[in-house]
Every structure is written in structure tokens, then in C-alpha cells.
């Protein structure tokens, strides 16, 4: 088996002949790692996953999973992968156990083996006590765990997670990360996930690809990506109007200055030492610093650097998405 579990070359998907959702992306995922696609809604993450899991056919380019071509050997691909979808796909009218057994049936796993595996998985995601309860009464976190268990029933070699903690609160999200890590440790598979939570990518992924408008902007480990920014970020405001970018740039260790509506975003090495020098330099020229903050780089800075926008826009559309989902569930229950 090759070291590269997933390999995509020039993978492209165009919808309705004019909407390019995924635009010639190249990446490879190594055996045993957690690889994350990070980007806002509509960036092409789900479309990429859907191509890799053989639901969508690529318009151009190719990709393989464990050496199987996703377009030509799709049946083989489907046999070795598992999917934890964005949505809660478990049937509300069935019990947790029935849902897992249904998944097992879709893989053609004989009933006695399926039952054994289902019990193990339920134990692992701590749903044993609820296995005979209808999914209707499950909380969001429980449903997510049930989806994880369903995705693992066929012991996949590659598990695809599409926004695994979408719509969960902070604690449940952290708990879900623990389950994912635990399952990965137990079953030792390769994980491909999409997310638009920076913390999630940071906490879970070995390597991250930042994707926007269907294109991969950068790939690397979260650590590397943060270091690639070249130091800390100092943000400051001054009382006076004129642009002082040039002046700040003269300070030693300052690498880059951006004026964003009167707020200066300064990239500098040794931030804690450089910041006082910047204040001093400005003061000497008669400017007064009114506000100053310093952050060590997080993925948010990396994201900002490469996409030119903050994740906040994405967050807003997520809220809208969640509201829609809740409406949908109500409509179904009624």
C-alpha cells in the first residue's frame, strides 16, 4: 500500500457549467494522519468530500483513495471508506442500535458480526444506555456520536468527517474531539475532515489545507502555518489621523504593517520586546497610542493572511444554516 492514502490531482467540479465549486486542487493525505480542509461555507470543502466519497463525479482531474480511482473504481472506494456526514442522518423513528445495524446492512455485514461491532462502538461513544431509545430523544452531541459510530461500522481505512461538530456548543464540541481521537486511536485509520472552526483544525488536524473559492491556498501543519507568519501580531490604534505605517516600519524587527481603517496590524518578531519600541518611536514623533494588543499567531491569523478575511463572515452564515436545519427538523417532527 502506498504511503499516500488519498491523492488528488487537478480535481475540479463545475456545477451547471458555470459554477466552479472546486478548482484544480492538488493534495495528498498520508497514512494515519488527520488531514483537515479549513475554509468558510461555500469554499468547496463538502464538494471535495463528495467527490472523494464517490457521490459526485469530478468534472476534471482525478483522485484516488487507497489507490482506487474515485471515478473508475468507485465500488472499491465505497467499501474501504466511512462517512460521518454534516447532517444528522440517523433516523429519528428508529433506535440508536437500529440505526447502526441499518448502516451495517448497507455494507452487507452479517447480523451477528454487526451486533458485536455495534455494541463495541456504542460503548466507545458512551451510548450503550441509550441504544434502545429512539433517536428523537437524543441530544445534538449524542446524535453526533451515533453518526461517528455508524461511520465506523465497516471498520473503514479512511474516515471522512464533514464538519463533525457543526452546530454543537463549545463543551460538546470539545467532547466530540475527544471521541474522534479515541476512535482514531482504537481503529488506527486515516481521517479526512472539513471544518470551518479554526480551533477544531488546530486541536485535531495533523495537517491543514486552507481552501477558499475552490482553491487550496496553503497546506501545512498548524504549527508550520503559524510560524510561517513570521512572528507575533501587534494591533494598535493612535489618537491622530495621519498614516504612520512607514514610521512603524522603521522599527527594528517589524516585518509588515497594514493599516485597516486606522487600526494598524503589525507583524513583528519578538513582539513583547518590539511593542515598547514602537510606542516609543511613535511618541517621539508626537503620536499617542490609544490601544495596543498583541497576539501570538493562531490559525485565525493564518487564515486572515491567506484569505484576506476573518472567519467571522463564515460564522454568520453558519448561524443561518443552523436555524434552517432546526426549522427543517421541526417541520419533519410535526
Amino acid at each position: 500500500m502506498s504511503e499516500e492514502v488519498i491523492k488528488a490531482e487537478g480535481l475540479t467540479k463545475v456545477f451547471n457549467k458555470n459554477l466552479t465549486a472546486v478548482d484544480h486542487v492538488n493534495f495528498s493525505v498520508k497514512q494515519g494522519e488527520i488531514f483537515g480542509f479549513l475554509g468558510p461555507n461555500g469554499a468547496g470543502k463538502t464538494t471535495t468530500i463528495n467527490m472523494l466519497i464517490t457521490i459526485l463525479k469530478p468534472t476534471e482531474g482525478k483522485a484516488s483513495v487507497l489507490g482506487f480511482d474515485i471515478a473508475k473504481q468507485d465500488y472499491n472506494v465505497r467499501n474501504v471508506i466511512g462517512l460521518v456526514p454534516q447532517e444528522y442522518t440517523a433516523d429519528e423513528d428508529l433506535t440508536g442500535l437500529e440505526n447502526i445495524l441499518l448502516c451495517a446492512d448497507l455494507y452487507g455485514i452479517p447480523r451477528h458480526i454487526a451486533k458485536e461491532r455495534a455494541m463495541d462502538l456504542l460503548k466507545l461513544v458512551e451510548l450503550t444506555d441509550f441504544k434502545d431509545k429512539k433517536v428523537q430523544i437524543y441530544s445534538g452531541g449524542m446524535r453526533r456520536r451515533l453518526e461517528l459510530a455508524c461511520g465506523l461500522i465497516n471498520r473503514p481505512k479512511v474516515l471522512f468527517l464533514d464538519e463533525p461538530t457543526l452546530g454543537l456548543d463549545v463543551q460538546t464540541r470539545a467532547a466530540t474531539w475527544d471521541y474522534i481521537k479515541k476512535l482514531k486511536k482504537e481503529y488506527g485509520m486515516t481521517l479526512f475532515m472539513t471544518t470551518h472552526y479554526l480551533e477544531e483544525a488546530d486541536a485535531l488536524c495533523d495537517r491543514v489545507a486552507i481552501i477558499d473559492h475552490g482553491k487550496i491556498l496553503v497546506v501545512g501543519t498548524p504549527e508550520d502555518l503559524k510560524h510561517s507568519l513570521g512572528g507575533d501580531i501587534i494591533t494598535l490604534r493612535i489618537k491622530e489621523d495621519p498614516d504612520v505605517s512607514e514610521l512603524i516600519r522603521t522599527v527594528e524587527h517589524v516585518k509588515e504593517v497594514k493599516n485597516e481603517d486606522g487600526s494598524y496590524r503589525i507583524k513583528a518578531e519578538y513582539g513583547e520586546v518590539t511593542a515598547p519600541f514602537i510606542i516609543e518611536t511613535l511618541r517621539r514623533k508626537g503620536y499617542t497610542v490609544t490601544k495596543l494588543s498583541m497576539t501570538e499567531p493562531t490559525l485565525n491569523e493564518v487564515y486572515l493572511e491567506y484569505t484576506g478575511k476573518s472567519m467571522r463572515d463564515a460564522e454568520e452564515s453558519r448561524e443561518a444554516f443552523r436555524a434552517q436545519r432546526i426549522t427543517m427538523r421541526r417541520a419533519r417532527g410535526g
Binding site: I55, R78, N79, P110, R155, R332
Partner: protein, 301 residues
């Protein structure tokens, strides 16, 4: 380290699991199950018993004008017999049976086929919206099996409902035809199977492209009621205007209903029955093929 999925089951695996998933939602939900029993009772009660067409001709529904000189008792008796004969005659020539309730109750069976398959079609929209369809598509289950299971569950459900209607109709006084044989019931299920396979494939092909409920709902309402009334389900086609008769002549529901009537309440005309089966059979094969090919192509985009 996990092994490769070692269960390379046959290409048809999963069909029962997916069909049963649909059926479970129905028979495990007491309210829905109860309603599916109540609904035909209400319809039969309302349409069959309220529109008591036979009663129009009985002596009690109108008073004879007084004649001068008054009719003698034997004459009245004779007149009464004459009207009773007339009623039988008119009913037989119009409905092929003297009992409108029996005529209508059988029409209910086609009605049920139409509506049950329609609602089963709607479940595809939910599967798409809630992501279950994608989940199923990522498993080794073949695309055709995913569609077949929908068709099969709709068909089984309709056939159960049809059986229920027959039982209820008998309880409410269905009058069997002169040469009725209990084995004819099997024929009823056979024709129901054919028409339901055709109709549900059609509805699934319509709904599978949609992520919203509204569009397929509108399309189906546009199809369903005209299909219902431009058929012989509730009224014989021979009294319809020519253009409507033409539509009814191509309507598979006309043939389905006629087949069930031939089997249950008419003096079976085997030539007509064979024609009915052939027509519905061809309809089922053609529409199911088109529907399944369209759905399959959509799923393999």
C-alpha cells in the same frame, strides 16, 4: 489495524434493509398506522354511502303524483315492481352492478395506490435534505437498490392498504360478483403491484431532483386529482364528454380499477381482464424503466 471490508455482498444487498427502514417508520408509528386505517373508512363512508345513487330510484325517495282515478292496489304493486326493475336496469347498465357502494369501494383501491405512492415519493425529499441519501450513496449499496427499495416500500404499503380496503368494504356490505372466487383477491394484489411499481417510480423520478417539498407537491397535485377523476374510479367513463373519455382511456387507473372490479364485483369478462392486465403491465414496465433510469442518472452525476 482494521482489515479491508471483507463482506463483498451481492449487488442486491441492502434492499431489504432500506425497504424495511421505510416500512418501520410506518408500522412502528401508531398514529400514522391508525390514520392509514381510518382514512379509507372515512372516504368510503363519505363517498360510497353519502352518494347513494341507487337510492335515487327507490320508491321512498320520491312520491308519485296522485292520479284520477286513483290506482288500484295491484296497479301500485305493478308500478313499484316496474320502478324496482328500472333501478336494477339503470344501475346495471351504468355501473355494471346494482350497488354503487361496491362500485365506489373498488375505486378507493386505485385512489389509495395513487396517494400512498405519492407520499412515499415525498420521503425521497427528506432523505436528500437530511443527508441520509448521501450517506447511503457513500456505502457499497448500488444506486439501483436505493431506488428499488423506495419503490418496493411504497408498493408493499399500497398493497397492504388495498387489502385493508377490501376487508373494510366487505364489512360495509360489498357485493361480490356472481362468479367471484376467493383466489381473485390474488389478482387484485397482482394488479396493485404493477400499478404501484409504475406510479412510485414516476413519483420518485419527480421528487429525487428536489430538495424542497413545495415543488414536487405542486407537480403531484397537478397530476393526482385529474388522474383520479379522469378515470372510472368513482363514475363510469361512458357518461363523460368525449374528450374526457379519451383521457380516461389512456389513464392506467381506469384499467386498474376495471381489473379490480372484474375480479371482485362484476361478472368477470376475461377478455377485458386480460386487456387491463396487459395495459397496466406495459405502463408499469415503461414508466418504471424511465423513472429508474432518470433517478439512477441523477444519482450518478
Amino acid at each position: 489495524m482494521s482489515k479491508l471490508n471483507e463482506y463483498r455482498a451481492s449487488r442486491l444487498h441492502g434492499i431489504w434493509a432500506l425497504t424495511n427502514r421505510e416500512l418501520k417508520k410506518w408500522y412502528k408509528a401508531p398514529v400514522i398506522f391508525f390514520l392509514s386505517i381510518i382514512q379509507p373508512i372515512i372516504w368510503m363512508g363519505l363517498l360510497g354511502k353519502a352518494m347513494n345513487i341507487g337510492a335515487i330510484f327507490t320508491g321512498t325517495s320520491f312520491t308519485l303524483p296522485q292520479l284520477d282515478p286513483p290506482l288500484t292496489l295491484p296497479q301500485l304493486q305493478q308500478l313499484g315492481d316496474y320502478f324496482a326493475g328500472l333501478q336494477t336496469n339503470i344501475m346495471t347498465s351504468a355501473f355494471n352492478t346494482t350497488d354503487y357502494f361496491s362500485f365506489m369501494a373498488v375505486g378507493m383501491i386505485a385512489f389509495t395506490a395513487l396517494f400512498t405512492t405519492m407520499f412515499s415519493g415525498m420521503s425521497v425529499v427528506w432523505d436528500r435534505r437530511l443527508g441520509f441519501l448521501n450517506k447511503a450513496l457513500s456505502t457499497p449499496v448500488s444506486r439501483a437498490v436505493i431506488i428499488f427499495s423506495k419503490v418496493l416500500s411504497a408498493t408493499l404499503r399500497s398493497m397492504f392498504q388495498a387489502g385493508l380496503i377490501i376487508v373494510l368494504a366487505i364489512a360495509f356490505g360489498l357485493q361480490f360478483g356472481a362468479n367471484f372466487n376467493p383466489l381473485n383477491i390474488l389478482g387484485v394484489f397482482a394488479i396493485m403491484f404493477l400499478v404501484c411499481v409504475g406510479l412510485s417510480s414516476l413519483f420518485i423520478a419527480i421528487t429525487i431532483r428536489s430538495t424542497r417539498m413545495e415543488t414536487p407537491m405542486a407537480v403531484m397535485n397537478l397530476i393526482n386529482l385529474p388522474m383520479m377523476f379522469a378515470s372510472n374510479a368513482f363514475f363510469p367513463t361512458k357518461f363523460m364528454p368525449d374528450w374526457l373519455q379519451t383521457i380516461a382511456r389512456y389513464n392506467p387507473l381506469t384499467y386498474t380499477t376495471d381489473a379490480v372490479r372484474q375480479l371482485l364485483i362484476f361478472n368477470t369478462d376475461y377478455t377485458q381482464l386480460a386487456l387491463d392486465f396487459t395495459y397496466v403491465g406495459i405502463f408499469a414496465v415503461i414508466v418504471a424503466t424511465i423513472g429508474i433510469v432518470l433517478s439512477w442518472r441523477f444519482l450518478s452525476k
